[in-house]
């Protein structure tokens, strides 16, 4: 009997975040009329196709640096800068492909700078990325002189032709990241560096380089999110990224990711993103006005760390 009770608890610990997601979904469906009505598929469809992809991508951009024991606070302004550069390239050259490449390169540049400062020079992760957040925020305001760029319809057509493109892109990114970080040798090395960078270096791994690549990947994902966002919004605004960093952290944490190196999994980003989306929309349906969303996200972050502490305690009791 004891063995079987144990793995029930183990199961709960492993799948706890999925349980949270299901509970939230059921609660909101029961208590509100049109959150989930079988006939009103448009509502859930709209959430899944329009909002969920963005939260999942944001969570992914945050989880990857967490694997190597760091974090990336510049996700928000990375999104603004890379999407604005992309819009500028479109305005100048009318060539969407070139614009996408330019945007992704800006995102990777920010990621690499973050990685270099953290891995090679030794600046603490949150100080480096927090300062980079402010620099990028200022940079996008300077190059945009406050104005915004609109009307890049040819670029938007790529994404808006089929309503499911955003979801497809986010799922593709999620699966690729999952394979890269859990199945490959590179992924195993990244987890080793996250667990103990010194031991990894002694085991012949280029731990500094691996950390830089992690931040580069985060920048790449952030840039992609930015371009998806401006194609959805139809305008590249310099103040776009503001609240995204907080949402990314909330999604990553509630999904089960942890700032302790090598404890986060790519699946945390998927589950975390879905939880945030269901929670935000659910809150609206039970009458909480939209302005309270930021506050809810703050509460989620605190709840996530309490939940993690509880699970840790259960785990140590078990072993």
């Amino acid at each position: 009997m004891k063995a079987e009770k144990l793995n029930l608890k183990l199961l709960f610990i492993k799948g706890s975040r999925v349980v949270v997601l299901l509970v939230l979904f059921i609660v909101f469906s029961v208590f509100t009329e049109n959150f989930f009505r079988f006939d009103n598929w448009s509502n859930i469809g709209n959430i899944l196709l329009q909002e969920a992809p963005f939260y999942m991508m944001l969570a992914l951009a945050m989880v990857i640096p967490m694997i190597v024991g760091g974090l990336d606070l510049s996700v928000g302004s990375n999104i603004s800068l890379s999407s604005f550069v992309c819009a500028m390239v479109i305005r100048e050259t009318e060539n969407p492909l070139l614009a996408i490449i330019a945007g992704l390169m800006v995102g990777c540049l920010i990621g690499t700078l973050n990685g270099y400062m953290i891995a090679k020079i030794g600046v603490p992760p949150f100080v480096a990325t927090y300062s980079m957040d402010w620099i990028a925020k200022g940079a996008v305001l300077v190059i945009s002189k406050g104005g915004q760029i609109t009307g890049f319809n040819s670029f938007r057509a790529i994404f808006n032709s089929w309503r499911g493109t955003y979801l497809l892109i986010s799922l593709v990114f999620m699966v690729l990241a999952w394979i890269l970080y859990t199945k490959t040798v590179f992924g195993k090395r990244t987890y080793c560096v996250g667990c103990n960078a010194e031991a990894a270096r002694i085991s012949g791994m280029k731990s500094a380089q691996i950390r830089i690549l992690a931040y580069l990947a985060s920048g790449f994902v952030a840039a992609m999110t930015g371009m998806m966002y401006i194609s959805k919004l139809g305008a590249a605004e310099p103040t776009l990224g503001g609240a995204f960093t907080m949402e990314a952290i909330a999604a990553a944490l509630i999904g089960g990711a942890s700032f302790v190196g090598a404890k986060s999994k790519i699946s945390n980003a998927l589950v975390g993103g879905l939880i945030i989306v269901v929670l935000n929309n659910g809150l609206i349906h039970i009458g909480v006005p939209g302005v309270w969303q930021d506050c809810a996200q703050g509460v989620i972050i605190i709840a996530a760390i309490l939940l993690e502490r509880l699970l840790e305690k259960m785990q140590t009791e078990r072993s």
Partner: protein, 365 residues
């Protein structure tokens, strides 16, 4: 029974005045050349400002219209003017800034444009004004983000004795003073936009109002005007009034939220162009284009394109350029020591699918 009779009587009065109102604003707002004073040439609007429509409730004192101003002498030559706007990112203020720079060249005066980095941030505006006093200009043209919050900085300018022309958003704090207030009649803008929309869409329907930024007098007056207009049409129900701070991105999220909450919406009145476009995007993304009509205020190249493509139904443009132009004219009078009225209303223009081609030509030059 009595209530019903009153309702009928009221609608009769309103419709007659409405007809008079929109009758006058029906002609296309064609820019007309005006005789050229020696060095000041500007596109002067011929049509009578729609401001003439008598609002039913509070009677604002008779406001002078913008074209009655004598622009023969140019007192601004060589003077320095500081123009404070609400933000750099909102298209309305980008247009106002460009217009101010153009007018400065025409008048031959030096202009410095200030705006807070955080849009609509009252604290930054106060700091910007305080710092500008280090090398004080001859005149301020001020658009406060917060009608009452700006008071400390205005008090500082008042004791320096520098004249102020208050444009677009009125400074409503009694303890401070300014020389003149130039704007489109905001109450009237809100009222007319909603009334015209209802007139086109019919007597029944459900509407959503997307509010700009609480604390800013322009949005408050437009909101009062809109509510008054909705009140006159019993058939219309205002489902919700949500804040979006004049930000396209916020308006989109607010619209997305409201569409999930209310399943059948007919009309959305967004209190400025940015929010209107944001709402339109959310509607298009949800696949409900055409079902929900979006109306708003201000105009720009992008708004005109949106009207052409049907994303937006119609807008009333309170024309940042004409407000700024009137502002400079009043400034000219003030610096010339001539007496000025307390309030000047600049005209507002209807832009809908019929006259959008013609109206957007204005942006080409």
């Amino acid at each position: 029974m009595k209530k019903k009779l009153l309702g009928v009587l009221l609608t009769a009065v309103v419709t007659t005045s409405l007809l008079a109102g929109c009758g006058s604003s029906e002609e296309p707002a064609a820019p007309a050349a005006q005789e050229e004073p020696e060095n000041v040439e500007e596109a002067e609007e011929e049509t009578e400002a729609a401001g003439e429509v008598a609002e039913p409730e509070e009677a604002t004192e008779e406001a002078a219209t913008s074209e009655g101003i004598d622009t023969s002498e140019n007192y601004l030559e060589g003077k320095k003017i500081v123009v404070l706007l609400k933000s750099y990112t909102h298209m309305f203020w980008v247009e106002a800034a460009n217009e101010a720079e153009m007018l400065a060249d025409q008048y031959g005066c030096e202009v410095e444009i200030l705006a807070p980095t955080v849009a609509n941030s009252n604290e930054e505006q106060i700091e910007l004004l305080e710092n500008s006093l280090v090398s004080p200009p001859d005149l301020y043209i001020i658009v406060p983000a917060d009608s009452q919050g700006i008071a400390p900085a205005i008090a500082e300018i008042n004791n320096e004795g520098i004249p102020i022309v208050n444009v677009n958003t009125q400074i409503t704090d009694e303890s401070v003073s300014y020389d003149s207030y130039v704007s489109a009649n905001q109450y009237d803008l809100g009222y007319t936009t909603v009334s015209t929309a209802i007139e086109k869409l019919g007597e029944e329907g459900k509407a959503i109002v997307i509010f700009g930024k609480p604390g800013a007098q322009t949005y408050m007056e437009r909101d009062e005007g809109a509510s008054a207009a909705f009140a006159e049409h019993a058939g219309w129900e205002v489902l919700d009034n949500q804040v979006a701070n004049g930000d396209r991105n916020e308006a989109m999220t607010v619209m997305q939220t409201l569409m999930t909450k209310y399943s059948d919406i007919d009309l959305v009145y967004a209190e400025d162009g940015e929010m209107a476009l944001g709402a339109a995007e959310a509607i298009k993304a949800a696949g409900k284009e055409g079902e929900i009509k979006v109306v708003g205020d201000n105009s720009s190249v992008e708004i005109c394109d949106a009207i052409k493509s049907g994303a937006l139904y119609m807008v009333y443009d309170d024309a940042a350029w004409s407000q700024m132009e009137t502002g400079f004219k009043v400034a000219n009078l003030v610096l010339g020591g001539q007496s000025v009225e307390d309030t000047y209303y600049s005209p507002i223009y209807l832009v809908d699918s019929d006259n959008v081609e013609e109206y957007s030509k204005r942006y080409d030059e």
